[in-house]
């Protein structure tokens, strides 16, 4: 499954651990939420970055105390129809000011990229190679956005205000 | 969505066909014995037991590009061998709405 990060297909530096996989000596690891919360202290002490795989039915607020120490949060789309992780992503970015990698995992398809980018995701485990390759093209598909989110894109309402004011200056 | 093959045990009560809607235009089609689709019920492959039904449906499901949402539908076969839809829904799918369409009224 290709990983898109920073707009490009890249190698995944993180190794995913299951609940019971022995802890590797070094290297970056992605750990399931339950294991992370149980072993947080030990995990954070070791060399190598730590990321957490957070299920979409668990309150993301539980992760807040650790946000400064983790390098990645992977949110889960069990199917592309299940949109809970969009809310979790926005909360992480906009309410809890999380600035690390925010990764979309699970059923991630091309047609969700724009929504995911707007919700704050910056890394994508894409299901299909062709979709991963089309990432940049797809991400540019829309130039107009009606809602304000933490991605900083200007909304239609505000663009109109700018236009109004610039017209006001001109006349 | 689970595949129609997994939905439930396939049990048929009598002669049946596999029907779906053609992907590019949506019209009603029936699975033929020749691995293809036809708009004519008379060209549909008739299955008479669960194994046959299952096999025909599996073949239909595999053609996801050709047609959407295949399922098994009952038919009645007259003394003259003519195939007729087995219920009202299938009758309507075959012959169209039971009401005048406004453009034709």
């Amino acid at each position: 499954m290709p990983l898109v990060n920073g707009g490009k297909i890249t190698d995944d530096r993180f190794v995913k651990l299951a609940v019971d996989t022995p802890l590797p000596e070094g290297g970056d690891i992605l750990v399931p939420a339950e294991r992370f919360l149980g072993e947080a202290e030990g995990l954070l002490k070791r060399a190598g970055k730590v990321g957490v795989i957070w299920p979409n039915n668990r309150d993301i607020a539980e992760l807040v105390p650790y946000l400064g120490q983790i390098a990645a949060v992977a949110l889960v789309f069990p199917t592309f129809r299940d949109g809970r992780a969009y809310s979790q992503a926005r909360l992480l970015r906009e309410r809890y000011n999380y600035r690390g990698e925010l990764r979309a995992t699970g059923q991630v398809l091309r047609d969700q990229f724009v929504f995911m980018l707007r919700a704050g995701f910056d890394a994508f485990e894409v299901k299909k190679q062709a979709d991963a390759e089309a990432f940049m093209q797809t991400a540019k598909r829309y130039s107009v956005f009606y809602q304000p989110t933490g991605d900083g894109r200007i909304t239609a309402l505000h663009r109109r205000m700018q236009l109004r004011h610039s017209e006001g200056v001109g006349t | 969505m689970t595949s129609p093959l997994e939905q439930k045990k396939i049990r048929i009560a009598g002669p049946s066909v596999v029907t779906a809607n053609r992907t590019w235009d949506g019209i009603v089609v029936y699975r033929t014995a020749a691995n293809s689709w036809s708009a004519e019920l008379s060209e549909a492959a008739i299955v008479r037991n669960s194994d046959e039904a299952k096999a025909l449906l599996a073949e239909a499901v595999a053609d996801d590009v050709g047609a959407i949402g295949p399922y098994i539908a009952p038919v009645q076969i007259g003394d003259d061998g003519k195939v007729q839809p087995g219920n009202l829904r299938e009758q309507i799918r075959r012959t169209g709405v039971t009401i005048g369409q406004p453009a034709q009224v």
Binding site: Y142, V144, A156 | T23, G26, V28, I92, A103
Partner: protein, 551 residues
């Protein structure tokens, strides 16, 4: 009228090109049907019995004449020459080809019409009062706010994959023509004691398998906070709404399971986090939207023009005027409802020729504006009273002057088993038969206001629960069987109907309705007592007795 600007147009065009790409990928096999289904639904494309069905949004029920002509064009070029107006200010085309859909969307985009989110588990078309902006006594035009919410809910990055569909309706009149109490969120526009605009917010209404009347979650939300408050409701719903069972996924179930108090506390908590964010709307933003709604320059006209006085001698004209013409907020003008319920016709259908001709009439008589109401009728919102006789003649020629608005033959019906892949029983033929039984205008008038609603399955697209007489078609042992309820209503006093007894067969439905009506005529205290009021006074028993005495 609301005029799209370059920004709105760009978005719609971007959406069309995205969908064109999605259709291409589907037809080439790059996308499976499972993957494509949700994408097509987000553009209003269903698969029905005979073909794809294409649902186009008519936000808050306002149409310009060039838009109506574009709908006629789609009906003619890509479909079979007609369309079906639905209960949620949409129009449906029943015979569209997937391969041609991107072209149809592109043709509609040219006049600012789209099909975004007319199906799927997202925020649907925002609906409102079809008399918005012209109804006497209205607090203010609710379409300004509808448009604000329409924009906010379009391609929302967080709420495009909700547990289930989500519908918002807005009214600004005492009499609720938008059926807000059967919506996921109902907004009643009100003023606070300082004269500021805000909303009573209702939540958790809906029909279907488990019907609920919406409950008030907050008595006053200031206009500037309405987007953040809606966002808070949606965020709670998106996270906690059930996704394990499609029949329990609507917000009404969440509200019911948590209880309105707990649900409203969750919303309130969330809202406190976001109410002072960029979601807050300043007056200038509202002004900007308001400035793109244009209103007619009305003439000063007499209350009772000569043309109207003279036409009053014609009993047919008078029957129509009394039935279909309503007061306008401006003297000398009227709101004209156009019945799409001709005797023997499918409720809500209009041909391309009728749509074109109506557009011409709206240009001539209604400042180029047409409205669509949830009762599946149309309206011309600004007709000078002096033009009423000429308009009536023209409508009559088109078969659009049936004087049955709000009467027993003004039936709301879903497409039913004739079109719909979900249906268990037919709806339209039942409606057709009833319009024939009660075709006599004097009889219908004598009965008075009476709404019949017909659904062909439990999903209740025909709103049978809130029909004065509700008819629900089900399937039993391979046969169509219809359950009859009475006493429902969809207005500000919304209520669910009560079942009168065992289901009846297809051929018996019209007889049963006749029995119910006869019972009502015999039981009412005086001619002014409406069917609803008689049912309220006496309950269902006497009706039940009458219907089942001989069955």
């Amino acid at each position: 009228m609301y005029a799209y600007d370059e920004i709105d147009r760009t978005l719609v065009n971007e959406r069309v090109s995205e969908f064109r790409d999605q259709v291409k990928r589907r037809l080439s096999g790059e996308l499976t049907e499972d993957e494509f289904k949700i994408l097509r639904l987000q553009n209003g494309v269903y698969l029905q019995l005979h073909a794809y069905m294409f649902r186009v949004a008519i936000p808050y029920g306002t149409l310009a004449t060039n838009q109506m002509r574009a709908l006629a064009h789609v009906a003619r070029k890509y479909d079979r020459g007609y369309g079906h107006f639905t209960t949620r200010q949409n129009i449906q085309f029943n015979w569209i080809k997937l391969a041609e859909l991107p072209d149809a969307l592109e043709d509609l985009a040219k006049v600012g019409i789209h099909a975004m989110q007319t199906s799927g588990n997202n925020m649907r078309n925002v609906t409102s009062d079809q008399w918005a902006g012209v109804a006497p006594g209205e607090i203010e035009d609710p379409r300004i706010w509808s448009e604000l919410i329409r924009q906010h809910t379009t391609l929302h990055p967080e709420f495009s994959f909700l547990p289930r569909k989500f519908k918002i309706a807005i009214t600004a009149s005492d009499h609720d023509r938008a059926a807000i109490k059967i919506h996921d969120i109902g907004l009643r526009l009100i003023k606070n004691e300082k004269g500021e605009t805000g909303f009573e917010v209702l939540v958790g209404g809906g029909l279907g398998r488990t019907p609920f009347i919406a409950k008030t979650i907050k008595h006053f939300v200031h206009g500037r906070d309405i987007l953040s408050y809606i966002e808070a409701i949606l965020r709670v719903y998106n996270q906690y709404g059930r996704r394990d069972n499609i029949y329990k996924a609507r917000i009404k179930i969440l509200v019911h399971e948590l209880g309105i108090e707990k649900f409203s506390r969750e919303v309130e908590d969330e809202w406190q986090h976001i109410r002072n964010s960029s979601l807050q709307i300043d007056e200038e933003v509202i002004e900007d939207i308001r400035s793109r709604f244009t209103y007619p320059v009305y003439e000063k006209l007499p209350h009772m023009p000569d043309e109207l006085r003279q036409a009053a001698a014609d009993p047919d004209f008078e029957a129509w005027r009394k039935n279909s013409v309503a007061p306008h907020k401006v003297q000398g003008y009227s709101i004209v409802t156009i019945s799409l319920k001709p005797t023997g016709g499918p409720p809500g259908d209009a041909t391309a020729e009728q749509m074109d001709a109506l557009a011409d009439l709206a240009d001539k008589y209604s400042f180029g504006e047409i409205r669509v109401g949830h009762e599946q009728n149309l309206a011309l919102p600004h007709v000078a009273k002096r033009d009423l006789p000429a308009l009536w003649k023209a409508l009559d020629k088109l078969g659009l002057a049936t004087p049955n608005v709000n009467l027993i033959t003004d039936i709301i019906a879903c497409p039913g088993l004739d079109y719909c892949s979900l249906a268990n029983a037919r709806s339209i033929p039942i409606a057709q038969e009833l319009t024939r039984r009660f075709a006599n205008h004097e009889l219908a008038n004598l009965i008075g206001r009476l709404h019949i609603n017909i659904s062909g399955c439990i999903n209740a697209c025909g709103h049978h629960h809130v029909g004065h007489i509700g008819i629900l078609g089900v399937e039993k042992n391979g046969e169509e069987v219809y359950q009859i309820t009475i006493g429902g209503r969809a207005d500000e006093n919304a209520a669910l109907g009560t079942l009168i007894g065992p289901g009846v067969k297809f051929d018996e439905v019209a007889d049963v309705v006749e029995d119910i009506v006869e019972a009502y005529l015999a039981l009412r205290e005086r001619p002014e007592e409406l069917f609803m009021d008689t049912v309220k006074r006496l309950g269902v028993e006497p009706f039940k007795e009458r219907v089942y005495a001989t069955r």
